[in-house]
């Protein structure tokens, strides 16, 4: 039986075949001897933690990087891909996580950009219009060819990216973390489109870190861990638990258990808060909520609906209007200061740990005191730093939070994303704050570390602290929080008890549909 299957696969050459691909960046081996074969007409998932080498591998396939060794076969033919132009002519199309669209161009103009037939656009545009209509019909990719990109939703913009690839006659479509910016229903729609494309004979490579998407959408799945391809499995014959174990290299608990919360007094009270961004756009449009001791309030929503600005305003990073009081003490919103926040025992774990939470060029021990350098344990009244104490603290806290490597002399830059996050968490949580503001606690964090981080947050809640958690991961919101509000277009909608709601209901709210 098995032999005949092998024979059959020999008949039709695989869409993509990689043999022994290796790639080093300085001392880092991003890809080690990777071999992969993707069958024609399948959806092939690639999962792996951050830094496992997925993006590097796809960048090699798309001609952004040159492999140090190894060969690429496209449709059975050995192919050398020095740049993206070569990838396109080999029939490979790529949809990036961050779209590459000209915002003030129409769909049509974006589609022909770089694929014009001559110096005059009229003919190309006419030709593209016909082809676009055909493609839209064939694959149910309904898009108005004359719509301007900046007026379109993110989901539609993504379809334009797919159309761009199809217009260039891509047979193999690579999608890099395509659902990061989509609402759950948009994501479902995307998967329907992808399945349609597959049924028409296209080959799709889906890169993601979300196991649920792999289970829902793919036929085959390959798992990468620290630069190596650890397994390739039939999706139907595996489970999220098995995949997680393959990704991390040990057993992982995907669900966390938490006790009933003991609610106390109101800790943080926000009234009619408005936040304007640098461009003068009102991003938070007068929202009101409170958080009590011993509860986790989740703020869900698709990225870009004002959650980041809300968190930064509460964290003293951004000016705002309205009123915020902490145990009855009003914050100075006109001249916010991160120091005022810390003096009130509010800890802020920012969404963007690399830009805000850490000084990447500082060593881990210097980062452990960051924001708390005025505390008497770290500096004398005359302004001398107590570096010894900071180093000791760093060693202790890094040990307790299992930050790896444990060398506190390493620069923050040299830690992985998950360990950087643990550094920030160790700094903020170990000070035992009354209120914790935390944004995207597990973004870019390895599955193994997610479990740990979630437990730390729950532990703080059980000690009676008030927690505001902003996350775009619905699963995280559902499993961690006690109450949840959805942020949509600068407003908070739908204040729900987490136990009484579900992904479906929140998903609708995230799309702005108020039931």
């Amino acid at each position: 039986m098995q032999k005949s299957e092998e024979e059959r696969s020999v008949e039709i050459a695989p869409a993509i075949k990689l043999t022994n691909i290796s790639k080093n960046f300085g001392p880092v081996q991003a890809n080690k001897n990777i071999s992969l074969s993707v069958k024609v007409g399948t959806i092939h998932g690639i999962v792996g933690e951050n830094g496992a080498g997925k993006s590097t591998l796809m960048s090699i396939l798309y001609g952004f990087y040159k492999a140090d060794s190894g060969e690429i076969f496209v449709g059975g033919n050995k192919t050398i891909i020095p740049d993206s132009q070569a990838a396109i002519s080999a029939g490979i199309g790529m949809v990036f996580q961050h779209f590459k669209l000209v915002e003030n161009f129409s769909v049509l103009e974006n589609v022909i950009l770089g694929a014009e037939d001559g110096p005059l656009l009229k003919q190309s545009l006419a030709k593209a219009r016909v082809q676009l209509t055909n493609l839209s019909k064939e694959y149910e990719l309904d898009v108005d060819p004359d719509a301007i990109i900046e007026n379109m939703s993110v989901g539609l913009q993504q379809r334009v990216e797919i159309l761009k690839a199809l217009y260039r006659e891509a047979n193999i479509l690579i999608l890099d973390e395509p659902t990061g910016v989509l609402t759950p229903s948009e994501a479902n729609h995307l998967f329907r489109i992808l399945k349609g494309l597959r049924d028409q004979g296209k080959t799709i490579i889906l890169i993601t870190h979300k196991l649920r998407e792999i289970m829902d959408a793919t036929d085959t799945v390959s798992v990468m861990r620290s630069g190596e391809m650890t397994a390739t499995l039939k999706t139907a014959k595996t489970s999220p638990e098995e995949l997680a174990e393959l990704m991390v290299g040990r057993k992982v608990l995907l669900n966390i258990s938490k006790k009933e919360s003991k609610i106390g007094d109101i800790a943080l009270e926000v009234k009619n808060l408005r936040v304007t961004d640098e461009k003068g756009v009102l991003r938070v449009k007068g929202i009101t909520f409170d958080v009590k001791e011993g509860e986790i309030l989740g703020i869900a929503g698709v990225a870009g609906n004002g959650q980041s600005e809300l968190l930064e305003a509460l964290g003293g990073f951004r000016k705002s209007q309205g009123s915020v009081s902490v145990y009855g003490h009003s914050l100075n919103l006109e001249n916010p200061s991160g120091q005022e926040i810390r003096d009130l025992s509010i800890a802020h774990v920012p969404e963007d740990r690399q830009r805000l939470g850490l000084i990447m060029e500082f060593s881990a021990w210097e980062n452990i005191g960051f924001g708390y350098q005025h505390e008497q344990e770290y500096s004398s009244p005359w302004g001398l730093m107590n570096n010894k104490k900071m180093r000791q603290d760093a060693d202790d806290k890094m040990g307790r939070f299992d930050v790896r490597p444990t060398d506190s002399k390493l620069k923050a830059r040299n830690f992985s994303g998950g360990n950087q996050q643990k550094l920030v968490l160790a700094r903020e949580i170990e000070r035992n704050p009354d209120i914790l503001l935390i944004g995207q606690p597990t973004r870019g964090v390895d599955i193994g570390a997610i479990e740990f981080i979630h437990n730390e947050i729950i532990k703080l809640r059980d000690e009676g602290k008030a927690i505001v958690l902003v996350s775009v991961e619905l699963d995280e919101i559902l499993s961690l929080t006690d109450r949840v509000s959805v942020m949509f277009d600068g407003n908070l909608i739908g204040n729900k008890i987490t136990a009484e709601t579900n992904a479906m209901e929140l998903g609708l709210l995230m799309g702005g549909e108020i039931s």
Partner: protein
């Protein structure tokens, strides 16, 4: 391992940069029609071959330590203070006023006050660009350049109209009284019985410069202010997250920078000319940029780079005296060093990094 060892980072790479700069300069020397090796030997002998040469080399180096430290401190806060020239001119004015206005009994009393005077005037000249940057976002590169021209004009005005000795033709102040003259290298080494050439202007300010190196190292790596300055310099957004005030850090860092430039006055005005003359700074403010770049903004690196530039300066003077190579060749070398260490740093760094990691991997 993802990091180069320190000796490669702060010694080997600048050294290679210097060798390349010298090699390119050698081509220019060849073009002029002189033998580059002879030229190099004249330069080195002239700079460090005698106590006379050393005296000048260290005098120049003292100036460059002050201005190099000035640029470095601002660099740590990611501020590019290129107003060292003007700040040093004003610092010289401050030193001169201190020296002229009080009949000092002895230099031991005069020096500390002159230090304060020079630092205050230098800092004051940096204060307006600092304030404009901190509060209004006016780029400090632009404003400090403008302040260089203003300082130069101000000095001309003061020396011609206010401070000039009545009846004198020269636009310079009166010579300072005996009690405000600093001991030279000859004097100081004479105390311990070592013979040292009498003519070079190196003086006790050299030790003030060394003390400044240590003080700045301590400030940057051992104090809370230094911690905040470095944090702000690496990431303004993270500094803001931590509640560090950008206005405060910009002001303080640039004021310290200006003060260091101003301190140069004790060497050039009080130590060398013993009066305030028009062109007392002689471009040292700009050389400070090269020194800071080459020393990678570390006080010890600044010290080494300043000595090197002192050698180049004194050697260049000798070169102009004994060959037909113009003194400006030094400016060429200096420009090449800035080009290589500043703009083209990665050109050298990347291949060395690759080579180093390849060797590490092969070893492992």
């Amino acid at each position: 391992m993802t990091k180069l060892p320190a000796w490669i980072d702060i010694l080997l790479i600048p050294f290679i940069n210097l060798i390349i700069a010298l090699f390119l300069s050698a081509l220019v020397v060849l073009y002029i029609g002189e033998n580059p090796l002879d030229a190099l030997s004249i330069m080195i002998k002239g700079a460090i071959g005698s106590s006379y040469g050393w005296g000048y080399t260290l005098y120049y180096a003292t100036n460059f330590i002050f201005t190099g430290l000035a640029v470095s401190v601002a660099f740590h806060a990611r501020m590019f203070n290129i107003g060292g020239e003007g700040q040093a001119m004003l610092g010289g004015l401050g030193v001169a006023l201190v020296c002229l206005m009080v009949p000092w009994p002895h230099w031991i009393v005069a020096l500390p006050v002159a230090v304060i005077g020079g630092a205050l005037f230098g800092a004051a000249w940096a204060a307006i660009p600092a304030y404009l940057q901190a509060k209004r976002g006016s780029h400090i590169v632009i404003t400090t350049i403008m302040f260089n021209f203003m300082a130069s004009a101000l000095l001309v005005y003061l020396l011609v109209n206010v401070l000039k000795v009545p009846g004198s033709m020269a636009p310079e102040t009166a010579r300072f009284a005996e009690g405000a003259r600093l001991p030279t290298g000859h004097d100081m080494l004479g105390w311990v019985g070592i013979k040292f050439s009498k003519s070079p202007p190196v003086n006790i300010s050299f030790f003030v410069a060394l003390a400044s190196c240590f003080a700045i190292w301590f400030l940057i790596w051992r104090t809370k202010l230094g911690y905040e300055i470095r944090a702000f310099g690496h990431s303004e957004s993270a500094a803001k997250y931590a509640g560090i005030s950008p206005v405060k850090i910009i002001m303080i860092a640039v004021l310290i920078s200006g003060a260091l430039s101003g301190l140069m006055g004790i060497n050039s005005v009080m130590g060398e000319s013993e009066r305030l003359v028009l062109d007392s700074v002689q471009g040292a403010g700009f050389i400070g940029i090269a020194v800071a770049l080459m020393g990678r903004s570390h006080p010890f690196g600044v010290f080494l780079a300043a000595i090197l530039f002192g050698i180049l300066y004194q050697g260049g003077a000798e070169l102009a005296m004994w060959t037909k190579i113009p003194r400006e060749l030094i400016v060429v070398i200096q420009a090449l060093v800035i080009l290589l260490t500043g703009a083209l740093d990665n050109m050298i760094r990347m291949p060395i990094e690759r080579l180093y990691f390849k060797m590490v991997r092969a070893g492992a």
